[in-house]
């Protein structure tokens, strides 16, 4: 399958601030690809650079087979983009807004639009400026889904929305897959875990990992070791063991390269006196938290703003 979205060594520098550093990702067709990371990680910059709202400083972006710098009406007719802080024509009523957008898309389907209006319970005769934030996002999403875009980009679409609205939005987006590919950025790790097929983690403009959700879940384990008697943690722990801690006879860490065969051998080597060892599957939230925690001391230890963790 070809990738509807692909970046190669993509960098973006705003004056002296390096917002993106050599980002290379490939979003498979039909996937729901989530870009996560802390505030200021570069998620929104990535989105805007992908859509040629910002010009890349270096590197390359290919969207629907076209270089992002050459994106035109033909490609945008197959792209749906919704951002939490998008400036909308607030004077328009919802009905007029949808009919205004309709003219731009040859593939617009009135029945889809009507269905989305019903699903989101959008008041057609109310101006956008008089809608709540959630309703505005719904209106934007309705205007971006009614033409069945090949590629859907969502920039923090769920921020500040209540659970019910989030569910509605997620459902409406997932209904479009696998015909559509979804690329979204979010803080909401809990929601992401429930429907994303792929995940990438950005930290200070740098990609720490990008992979399938299943493989991520498979390779991260929270390890707890109970020792026979209190002892210092060995100094030569593998770099893939994140956030090692010890409290009395209990030692714990996150293994970011978990493999059951190697795990047994590692336990024998580093904790020969262990009374018990448990390896727990981690939710996405815990994985990201472990990575973030590991990143902080690594950054502090380094004089440069580069990360030296191995995940």
């Amino acid at each position: 399958m070809s990738a509807p979205l692909r970046t190669e060594q993509l960098s973006k520098i705003f004056r002296h601030v390096e917002a993106l550093r050599e980002l290379t990702i490939e979003v498979p067709e039909g996937s729901v690809f989530a870009l996560v990371g802390p505030n200021g990680a570069g998620k929104t910059t990535s989105m805007k650079t992908l859509l040629n709202i910002h010009e890349p400083t270096s590197g390359r972006v290919e969207v629907l087979g076209v270089d992002s710098r050459s994106l035109g009406a033909e490609q945008f007719a197959r792209i749906g983009y919704v951002s939490e802080n998008q400036q909308m024509p607030e004077w328009m009523k919802v009905g007029y807004f949808l009919s205004y957008c309709r003219q731009f898309y040859p593939a617009w389907r009135d029945e889809d639009a009507a269905q989305l209006v019903r699903l989101f319970d959008l008041p057609l005769d109310r101006k956008l400026r008089h809608l709540s934030r959630g309703m505005r996002v719904k209106a934007a999403l309705a205007s971006s889904l009614a033409y069945r875009p090949k590629l859907i980009l969502l920039d923090e679409p769920f921020g500040g929305l209540d659970v019910l609205v989030r569910e509605q939005l997620i459902e409406s987006v997932l209904d479009r897959t696998p015909e559509s590919t979804v690329f979204l950025s979010s803080h909401d790790l809990g929601e992401i875990e429930s429907f994303a097929s792929h995940i990438a983690y950005l930290h200070e403009g740098r990609l720490l990992f990008a992979e399938e959700m299943a493989s991520l879940s498979a390779r991260f384990r929270e390890i707890e070791v109970t020792l026979g008697e209190p002892a210092e943690l060995p100094g030569d722990l593998p770099a893939t063991w994140l956030t090692p801690e010890q409290s009395g006879v209990v030692a714990g860490f996150v293994d970011s390269r978990f493999d059951s065969e190697r795990h047994r051998a590692d336990m024998q080597r580093f904790f020969p006196a262990a009374r018990s060892v448990t390896a727990r599957v981690m939710p996405l939230r815990a994985i990201i938290l472990a990575i973030s925690k590991a990143a902080q001391p690594a950054k502090r230890a380094s004089q440069r703003s580069e990360l030296h963790i191995c995940i």
Binding site: K48, L51, A73, F76, Q86
Partner: protein, 481 residues
């Protein structure tokens, strides 16, 4: 085309109130113009309304920023730009053009004979208003920023205007070249900004282009010399003559004597007026000439160079004005004078007679009407009567015209028609001359006007290069006279 109209209709729907106000003002201004009562405040208001509407139309789909919803909609930049230009055409240019046609027709002119003038006016309007406003709105974030930028540009224009002397007489048509050059630079910069910003949305680069354009226009406005303007004017409208200026054997001329005394002893203290006799040749028979005020460079022995402040050429004389101190130092030495002088050649058209109370065409000038009117005096009940001739013309710039008022068969008075500064939006330029009447005088039975005007024959820039003059000789000859 379809999307262009779609975006255009959206803008009109959004700004319908402003469009309606602009049209109402436009119609009112045209109505006043059609009944010969130009309402300058309405014209000013119309320009402001247009400017605001154009800016708001562009800011409907703002180009500055990265959060606008339309950025990722499938509209080509050409479509967006075309929709904004269509808005400008529909709201500014088409109504203005149609109203001009109506005004010309209402004032007795055949509009189709003046289409070139009317279209030129629309081009200038686009260069100085439509395109600059679209360009400004395209590179600024919001209306408040735009208002500040407009105030800044107007302030710069005001500052630049301090550097130029107001033109007089036919030299206004040379100064018009200055304004046209400014309009061309302004318009070209605006086109570059609009094109660059709509196509690439590189705001800072577009702003730099715009700033360069504004500064360039201001520099041209302030610093371009009248000689350069005259050369440009000459290139487009050359005189069919080769005029030369040479020193001639002086012979005091009573016509110049009064002017010489005026300059020497009254008007400019501290300046010495030196009348230098000139032989002007090369002017065809039946053609008149009018020389512009040259800036004359005086070269003295030892490499000293002096610039005369304001000098004049009239009646075959150059009246050179130099500081009296410099004159005293140089008066007995051999000097050389060098300058370039703009000259306009013209022919006086035959006069047209106009009885009191009539309105008729004056060939080559326009339509003139005559009437009587009264003004209140200082004391209550006092009334002062005047006979007036008023001429109007759809030509872009006014021509020197003269009126002779015959109160009776053997008594007349003359005056140059004063081309009022007609507000720029009117398709007509208007001129009047008024003659006060004696109490109880009624000129209607036998009074009449005669109107004549100058018909320009072309322009030329003539070299003035005079050698081996002793300035003191010319002054002493005059003093002897």
């Amino acid at each position: 085309m379809h999307l262009m109209l779609h975006i255009f209709k959206k803008d009109v729907r959004r700004l319908w109130w402003g469009v309606a106000i602009a049209l109402l003002i436009q119609i009112a201004a045209a109505w006043f113009d059609a009944v010969d009562n130009v309402a300058a405040p309405l014209n000013d208001l119309l320009v402001v309304t247009w400017a605001v509407l154009l800016a708001l139309a562009v800011l409907e789909d703002p180009l500055v920023g990265d959060r606008q919803f339309w950025l990722t909609r499938p509209a080509r930049w050409r479509v967006l730009l075309a929709s904004k230009l269509l808005f400008a055409l529909a709201v500014v240019h088409v109504p203005s053009f149609l109203c001009d046609i109506v005004v010309l027709a209402a004032r007795g002119f055949r509009p189709w004979e003046w289409l070139a003038n009317l279209l030129t006016k629309q081009l200038l309007l686009a260069a100085v208003l439509t395109l600059p406003m679209i360009a400004l709105a395209a590179v600024l974030r919001n209306f408040a920023h735009l208002a500040l930028a407009v105030i800044g540009i107007l302030g710069l224009g005001l500052l630049a205007s301090n550097f130029i002397r107001p033109p007089f007489g036919p030299w206004g048509s040379i100064e018009n070249v200055r304004y046209v050059l400014v309009a061309v630079v302004f318009g070209a910069a605006a086109i570059a900004v609009v094109w660059w910003q709509f196509a690439r949305r590189r705001t800072w680069r577009s702003r730099l282009v715009g700033i360069a354009g504004v500064l360039g226009a201001a520099l041209i406005f302030a610093l371009v010399s009248p000689i350069f303007l005259a050369r440009v004017r000459t290139a487009f409208d050359p005189a069919p003559a080769r005029i030369t200026l040479q020193l001639r054997n002086p012979a005091p001329d009573p016509n110049v004597y009064g002017a010489f005394q005026y300059y020497n002893y009254g008007a400019f203290p501290g300046l010495e007026a030196v009348p230098v006799p000139l032989a002007v040749s090369g002017i065809p028979a039946g053609i008149q000439s009018l020389f512009g005020a040259p800036a004359v460079a005086i070269f003295a022995p030892g490499g000293e160079r002096l610039q005369s402040s304001m000098s004049y050429i009239a009646h075959d004389w150059l009246i050179l004005q130099i500081p009296r101190v410099s004159y005293q130092r140089l008066k007995n030495t051999q000097v050389e004078l060098q300058s370039r002088v703009p000259v306009i050649l013209y022919r006086v058209a035959s006069s047209t007679s106009q009885p009191m109370g009539a309105r008729r065409a004056v060939p080559g000038l326009g339509i003139c009407s005559t009437d009587l009117f009264e003004l209140p005096g200082l004391n209550p009940g006092d009334r002062h009567s005047f006979a007036r001739i008023a001429c109007e013309s759809p030509q872009g710039s006014p021509l020197p015209a003269f009126a002779k008022f015959w109160e009776s068969a053997d008594s007349n008075r003359s005056a140059q028609l004063d081309w009022r500064n007609t507000p720029g939006l009117s398709p007509l330029v208007r001129a009047t001359a008024s003659f006060p009447l004696a109490p109880g005088e009624d000129p209607r039975p036998s009074g009449r006007f005669e109107v004549s005007h100058d018909i320009p024959q072309g322009w030329q820039v003539v070299n003035l290069d005079l050698h081996d003059l002793r300035l003191g000789d010319y002054v002493s000859r005059w003093n002897e006279h």
